[in-house]
Amino acid sequence: MKKRLSKLSGSQAFWPVMIFLAIILFNTIMTRGEFLTISIVDGHFYGRIIDIFRNGGKLMILAAGMTMVLATGGTDISVGSVMAISGAIACSIINGNLLPGLGGNVAMAIILAILAGVTCGLWNGFLVSQIKIQPIVATMILLVAGRGIAQLITNGKIITINSDAYYFINGGYILGLPFPLYIVLFLVGLLLLFVQKTAFGLFLESIGCNPLASKFAGIKVNKFLLAIYTISGAFASVAGLIESAGIKGADCNNAGLNIELDAILAVAIGGTNLMGGRFSIFSSVIGALIVQSITTTVLALGVPAAYIRVLKAVLIIVICLAQSSKFKVSLGKIFVGKRGRKEAVAL
């Protein structure tokens, strides 16, 4: 039992899960239990917890893709702009401004939006793996240009659309649970299965630790990088669909604005080494829930929204400290003190 417990606490997901539970516990106490209540209206579950999962869907998807990119030692700061592009394409097709020949077909709109995300990812991957541009610079190109492209698609206007089928992506329910949750389960599940069943995880960690030695061991590093940035782009486009379905339109200026930083934060909270190497997609998804729950907490407690950023900053500091082994050692020294040290020696 003890052994199992220590194995559990040693796993990368342990602390993120604990932090998440602590935030929920904190909220439950502060709101005298209201936070946990889940009501059923029209057969749909409603409540703060459900909100976290629904609103956190985009971030969970982005974090899953971002985890792999960061594990290679790279980064992808273009995901917010890719979200804007994907939303702009989907909405423009549905309202007939773009490719009117499709007649506003929602399925085609979704497919083409995701294809656009794939293209963006390929572009990033091409710059990083073939042209060898530093990832932060390479993806900055799309970060800047992406919103411009989105605006060109929408002619610089905010588009609103009227399509119940499209709204369903964000607002729909299946078996009482919000639809975005199913998208997350599908994409993250697919990814986890892939990591589990293939040597993908080993290759990814190997590339992240030492790309040159990985190449010498027979791994096609460049192809791998291309694939990973492409997945990240594809995932971003799905997140973009959820976002635009949520606001029932496309707002190229604000869709996914600054969300790349939240995604990186989520991965960092999950304990993946941002310099590359060891990674855990599951932990990052929990990290995304933590980031989302902070926002929900602030709203639940009635604190002005302006505090969200400050709170996030505080949380980042706490989490970074918690993950720093040097800090843990010095903290241990303060608590154990001289007396405890002697005892430890005696033991």
């Binding site: 069943k197 293939t198 040597a199 993908f200 080993l202 290759f203 960690e205 190997s206 630790c209 030492n210 040159l212 030695a213 990985s214 190449k215 010498f216 061991a217 027979g218 791994i219 096609k220 080494n273 190497g277 060891r278």
Partner: protein, 508 residues
């Protein structure tokens, strides 16, 4: 000699985590005006002891006294201030700064108003280097000079900082013989001035040439301190490796005898006038099954470059390459791996190990790459393979879960070897497989190589140590200036013959 105690370390212990005990109750003593060799195999604890002394690592237990005063430096800076200077194997100066700046960085002479007194600094630097018989333009940036000169500058810098104790951590591994002689004369002069010098090295000749006493560590434990003049080489080696060197050498000898009997099989690799722009020219080379082919030559002669081309790292730009009678174009190491080639590169750290991964993952990596992404080797299988090779190659580790970066250099090399043996190669290419590895492990690796060839594997053996090649190879191809210069085989093989070709004598 005065026999005044300068530095004593007593009962030093240090462990990393629970599993790895790097130092266990180690003693060390240094006198004034003494050159003291600190010896031991890789993983014996030499570097950890140095790190504890210089404040890089904090000791768990033990006392350190410098001239009767208890000290506890917590950083290299602090150590330097109390008079302990270190020169590391890799030069850690700033190549973009001038020689003088490098010597006086952080303690440059000042003018009245706080500005740096450049004229004085340059003059001081020239004077200091003059003491070491070095005449350099001290205003030129350091990267204008060879690694050897840089090393000298590092030593000059270290010895100038009111140093009482000077630590030289493998300073000679990148130096030529002439430069080593120069270094030794400097060391002797510093000794005369009363400095205590701790000298860490792998070269036993140098130990006997320059040191007064020897302290041996093994597996983190103190073995003993001896007068250099009273300890024979055999005794020293046996103390370092903890087993009788004579018997180890004997088993290597036996392997060699066997080697003589096995005949080389059919040709596996056939390079016909293969070139790669800027690294090799019109290279003709054959490697047969069951032979260890030595590749010899000076640095930059095309030794490693030939292996890189064979392994698909560099592409063939001219000529033809045949593997197993089949003409091939290798575009990526994976292409070579699929043709049953394997390559242990020269730079273990940057091209070999995946530091943050376990031994198990490191071993499984190439086999997994060969099998492809979708045919995953299960953890259980990987564990089995790892355990097999840990046992077979005698890799010293508590378990296959250990991260490879925590192993000593020799054991890391064995893991890389295991990675390739797991792919069941027909050609094994080894580039400096024993560099920076203690003699015990060295002999073990050499024996493994000879045994593999006896089992029918083709081996390409690249080493800058001639006696190692002579010991392992039946045929040695000598390269010069990116071209094949000649070949010696069978009974003609001798150090002299190889050197003659290297130096430009007649090619056979």
């Amino acid at each position: 000699m005065s026999h005044v105690k300068l530095l004593t370390m007593e009962g030093i212990s240090k462990s990393f985590g629970k599993a790895v005990v790097a130092l266990d109750d180690v003693r060390f003593e240094l006198e004034k005006g003494e050159i003291h060799a600190l010896l031991g195999e890789n993983g014996a604890g030499k570097s950890t002891l140095i790190k504890v002394l210089t404040g890089v690592e904090e000791r768990d237990e033990g006392e350190v006294e410098l001239e009767g005063e208890k000290i506890h430096p917590r950083s290299t800076n602090e150590a330097q201030q109390i008079g302990i200077s270190t020169v590391y194997q890799e030069v850690n100066l700033c190549p973009n700064l001038s020689v003088a700046e490098n010597i006086y960085i952080g303690r440059a002479p000042r003018q009245k108003f706080g500005g740096i007194d450049w004229a004085r600094m340059n003059k001081d630097a020239e004077e200091l280097l003059g003491r070491f018989d070095l005449k350099l333009d001290v205003t030129k940036s350091l990267d204008n000079y060879s690694v050897a000169i840089q090393q000298m500058v590092a030593i000059a810098r270290a010895s100038d900082i009111k140093a009482r104790v000077l630590i030289l951590d493998e300073p000679t591994s990148s130096l030529s013989n002439v430069e080593v002689d120069k270094l030794f004369s400097i060391m002797k002069r510093l000794r005369q001035e009363g400095m205590g010098i701790i000298f860490v090295t792998h070269f036993l000749d140098q130990v006997y040439e320059v040191t007064d006493r020897i302290t041996v560590l093994r597996n983190g434990r103190y073995i003993g301190t001896y007068k250099t003049s009273e300890l024979t080489r055999m005794e020293l080696v046996s103390k370092m490796i903890g087993k009788d060197y004579a018997s180890l050498n004997k088993s290597l000898q036996e392997s060699r005898e066997e080697k003589k009997e096995t005949k080389a099989g059919n040709v596996f690799i056939n390079m016909k006038k293969v070139s790669h722009q800027g690294s090799i020219n019109d290279m003709d080379l054959t490697i047969s099954r069951g032979e260890v082919l030595g590749l010899s030559g000076l640095l930059g002669s095309g030794r490693s470059e030939t292996a890189r081309v064979l392994f698909g790292i560099d592409q063939v730009t001219g000529g033809e390459l045949e593997i197993n009678g089949e003409k091939v174009h290798l575009k990526h190491p994976l292409d070579a791996i699929k043709k049953d080639l394997a390559f242990c590169p020269e730079n273990r750290k940057t091209e070999g190990i995946i530091g943050d991964l376990s031994i198990r993952d490191n071993i499984a990596l190439a086999l997994q790459a060969k099998k492809g992404l979708f045919k995953k080797i299960s953890k259980k299988e990987a564990q089995k393979i790892a355990d097999e090779y840990i046992k077979k190659l005698e890799i010293k580790t508590p378990s296959a879960d250990q991260l490879i970066k925590n192993l000593s250099g020799g054991n890391q090399q064995k893991v890389i070897l295991a990675r390739w043996l797991a792919t069941n190669p027909q050609l094994l290419m080894l580039d400096e497989p024993t560099r920076g590895i203690d003699i015990g492990t060295k002999a073990e690796i050499q024996k493994i190589v000879i045994d593999l060839a006896a089992q029918g594997m083709a081996v390409l053996f690249i080493s800058s140590e001639l006696d190692e090649e002579l010991r392992c190879c039946k045929r040695i191809v000598v390269l010069k200036d990116m071209e094949r210069a000649g070949e010696v085989a069978g009974d003609e093989i001798s150090e002299g013959a190889v050197m003659q070709i290297m130096a430009g004598g007649e090619a056979s």
